[in-house]
């Protein structure tokens, strides 16, 4: 028989302890365990589900992130409204983030804050410049006027800075010190001063002021609320005293302030009373709460400067004119420099054999680079022509050969250096030389012309060799020279040998020219005789005459290596039955030349 037990009883048993639980197990076994589970499900099922859900919310980072993102803005708003704990907590993180961001990308940060800082900086700079101009004008006005000199003397005597003396004389009034004094104790709660003034210990001054107030009140039996409100001294100096229920505001003033200022101080004091009412109630000598009033009181250090005459100092005018003149001169020079530079650039661009690849301006210098043919004009020369300073230019050229006809011709001219009478022309790859020249240049031209880049062929048919021309003429001249001999003689006596010397001169020329053109000129000296006498004798005589001339030439330093002397007898030039004149004409030597 199966023992049935109320499920609750079974549950109770399960919590009763190990002994009763063991007893129950004994009787119900496995089925009761199952029943217990069912019962547990029935009773705590929903809670278990909720627990599981909660567990999941806690364990799942995505879910937590999503939930946190929903509540975080509200949480921050709530927290910030209560106190500054959140701000303090995230402050280091924000600072670090900003630091990292700036380190990583300065530009992004600069862009972000520029809209805020930019106008501020501009305004500050503008105001500083205006201030500088104004103070410069004021300084110049005062420095060189009679009044200014007086003030300088005063500053020197009183050992005060000149600026302070100027300021004092330019002021309608200035509040130099403000004391906020505790009425009962006379202690200074706050004290501010305008710059550049010397002052005594505020606590002691305040104490003495309070004592004097009491002294006046006691001595003249005024009523308690009546107080000394002004102390006047030294002509234009005074102390204004404004008294409130717990505090006194005392202003040390130089000059004559407007009466409205007193109302302002009244309002200021009332405001402070209102704000510090509770602090004053329990005041025990601690003045630190009043520290925050410093700026407010500093705003109360009013002053008014005499309206400066708008007259601008002549010195400022002069400075202005100098400045303007220099500016105009500078602008003029810059403009002209710019024009010269642009012209130079255009010229450089148009220059044959030069191709500009880049033109830059850095640190006040022009950096010019490009391709340049060796035959192109030197840019430095162009620069000098353009009246530009070469020290401001840096050239970087890559040399290359331009193959356009003009460049090729220019290159040929540079390389071949033709004499003035020679004209070089270049067309379709052929360099043509026309005109007249010595042989040496022509030989050089022929040797080197094909080395010029861009020249494929040459034509020198219209080029006249002047040395060759001279040689031809000399040869012709020599062949007309005929030294005459006396009848039957193979020597020419002194005084009759002009022709012989003429021949010598021409032969020397010929030999010089043959050296130049490097072609040997063969000279034949033919000896002749007239018809008188035997043939044999005449042949001998004609030979001796030719030999005589050769010896004469050799004697005068002529190289005989290409010269031959031949006796022709009477046959060659003599005629049978010749006249007297003919006979004379036959007693001679003649010259023939061969190349």
């Amino acid at each position: 028989m199966r023992l049935w037990k109320h499920p609750k009883a079974s549950l109770m048993e399960s919590f009763d302890g190990p002994s009763s639980n063991a007893h129950a197990k004994e009787h119900s076994g496995h089925s009761s365990e199952k029943t217990l589970d069912e019962l547990r499900n029935l009773l705590t099922g929903p809670q278990q589900q909720q627990l599981a859900q909660l567990q999941q919310r806690l364990d799942d980072p995505l879910l937590r992130g999503e939930e946190l993102s929903r509540i975080l803005p509200d949480a921050i708003t709530l927290g910030t409204s209560r106190n500054d704990k959140i701000a303090r907590a995230i402050q280091p993180t924000i600072e670090e983030s900003i630091r990292t961001s700036v380190k990583k990308n300065t530009r992004a940060f600069a862009d972000a804050i520029f809209p805020v800082l930019g106008p501020g900086i501009r305004k500050a700079i503008a105001s500083t410049i205006m201030g500088m101009i104004q103070s410069l004008n004021q300084m110049l006005n005062y420095s060189f006027s009679f009044k200014g000199l007086q003030w300088r003397w005063k500053a020197f005597r009183s050992r005060r800075p000149f600026a302070e003396v100027v300021l004092l004389h330019s002021l309608v009034y200035r509040v130099e010190q403000l004391f906020l004094i505790h009425l009962e104790t006379g202690l200074v709660l706050q004290h501010v001063t305008s710059s550049q003034i010397t002052f005594q210990d505020p606590d002691m001054i305040s104490g003495m002021l309070t004592a004097i107030q009491d002294f006046v009140r006691d001595s003249f039996e005024t009523d308690k609320d009546t107080a000394l409100d002004t102390l006047r001294y030294g002509g234009d100096q005074s102390i204004w005293i404004e008294q409130g229920p717990n505090m006194v505001l005392a202003a040390v003033i130089r000059g004559i302030p407007p009466l409205t200022l007193r109302n302002q101080y009244r309002e200021l004091l009332d405001g402070i009373h209102l704000k510090f009412h509770s602090v004053l109630e329990s005041f025990e000598g601690d003045v630190s709460p009043f520290e925050i009033l410093k700026h407010q009181l500093e705003d109360g250090l009013k002053f008014q400067v005499k309206e400066a005459k708008t007259r601008i100092s002549p010195l400022l005018w002069i400075l202005l004119i100098i400045f303007l003149t220099l500016s105009v001169a500078w602008a003029f020079q810059s403009y002209h420099y710019h024009i010269r530079w642009e012209n130079f650039r255009a010229r450089l661009n148009a220059e044959r054999g030069i191709v500009l690849t880049s033109v830059e301006r850095k640190n006040g210098k022009h950096y010019i680079s490009g391709l340049r043919d060796p035959s192109a004009r030197d840019p430095l020369n162009l620069m000098k022509e353009a009246r530009l300073d070469p020290s401001k230019f840096v050239f970087e050229w890559q040399f290359n050969y331009a193959l356009d006809p003009e460049s090729t011709l220019a290159r040929a001219k540079t390389m071949l250096n033709p004499p003035p009478e020679v004209i070089l022309k270049f067309l379709n790859g052929t360099l043509t030389a026309e005109g007249r020249s010595e042989h040496r240049w022509i030989a050089d031209f022929r040797n080197r012309v094909l080395n010029v880049t861009g020249v494929n062929a040459y034509d020198d048919t219209h080029l006249l060799d002047t040395d060759l021309e001279k040689l031809t003429m000399a040869r012709k001249l020599l062949e007309r020279v005929t030294p005459f001999f006396p009848p039957g003689k193979s020597r020419i006596p002194e005084g009759m040998n002009e022709d012989l010397y003429e021949g010598l001169k021409v032969i020397r020329t010929i030999q010089h020219l043959q050296d130049l053109i490097n072609i040997p000129v063969h000279i034949m000296i033919f000896g002749h005789a007239d018809a008188s006498g035997s043939k044999k004798f005449n042949l001998q005589l004609s030979h001796e005459r030719a030999e005589y001339v050769l010896r004469f030439l050799m004697h005068n330093g002529v190289d005989p290596s290409h010269i031959k002397a031949i006796g022709m007898g009477v046959k060659a030039s003599g005629k049978e039955g010749a006249t007297q004149v003919d006979s004379i004409l036959n007693r001679t030597v003649t010259f023939k030349t061969f190349l």
Binding site: L187, A211, E284, G285
Partner: protein, 165 residues
């Protein structure tokens, strides 16, 4: 920063001014004391690691020609009474001043400086009188304007009393 108004009182010629002049910051001359009836000095000291400024109102000594202006006592946080040890009468003046002060500003901390200790052979104030004073709750410090004896102690003691008050 703590500031306290302290009044220095005593009979005529007990040496109030001479006692402190070497120990305080002063800008006003003695004539203020005789004309206005008070001279303000300042003593800065450190008490329990805090700076305290004592604004000393050196009140003109009471004599037959001039009464102390009680209004000067207003707002005082402490008093230094100076008694001349060689003139017993000055002790009576102290008591008189003490009572007046109490009436005007209440029970504020105070220190009695028994001055002229360097002339102790001529002293008229005996130990009995001093005991009586102590019984009245007075803190007594023997001082000497001539040697500077215990002057700093006067300020320090009063400052401590004021802080504790």
């Amino acid at each position: 920063m703590i500031k306290k108004k302290v009044c220095m009182l005593g009979s005529f010629a007990v040496g109030k001014t001479s006692l402190v002049q070497r120990f305080v910051h002063s800008i006003f001359s003695q004539k203020y004391s005789t004309t206005v009836g008070v001279k303000i000095d300042k003593k800065t000291l450190s008490i329990r690691e805090k700076t305290m400024d004592l604004i000393l109102w050196d009140l003109h000594g009471k004599d037959e020609f001039q009464e102390i202006r009680m209004s000067y006592l207003r707002g005082a946080s402490g008093c230094i009474y100076v008694v001349d040890g060689t003139r017993l009468k000055t002790l009576d003046v102290f008591r008189e001043l003490r009572n007046k002060t109490r009436d005007y500003v209440g029970d504020v901390p105070f220190v009695v400086a028994l001055n002229k200790w360097d002339l102790r052979r001529e002293w008229e104030i005996g130990s009995d009188a001093m005991d009586d004073l102590e019984k009245e709750g007075a803190v007594i410090i023997k001082t000497s304007a001539k040697t500077g004896l215990c002057v700093e102690e006067v300020f320090q003691t009063l400052a401590r009393l004021m802080v504790d008050n």
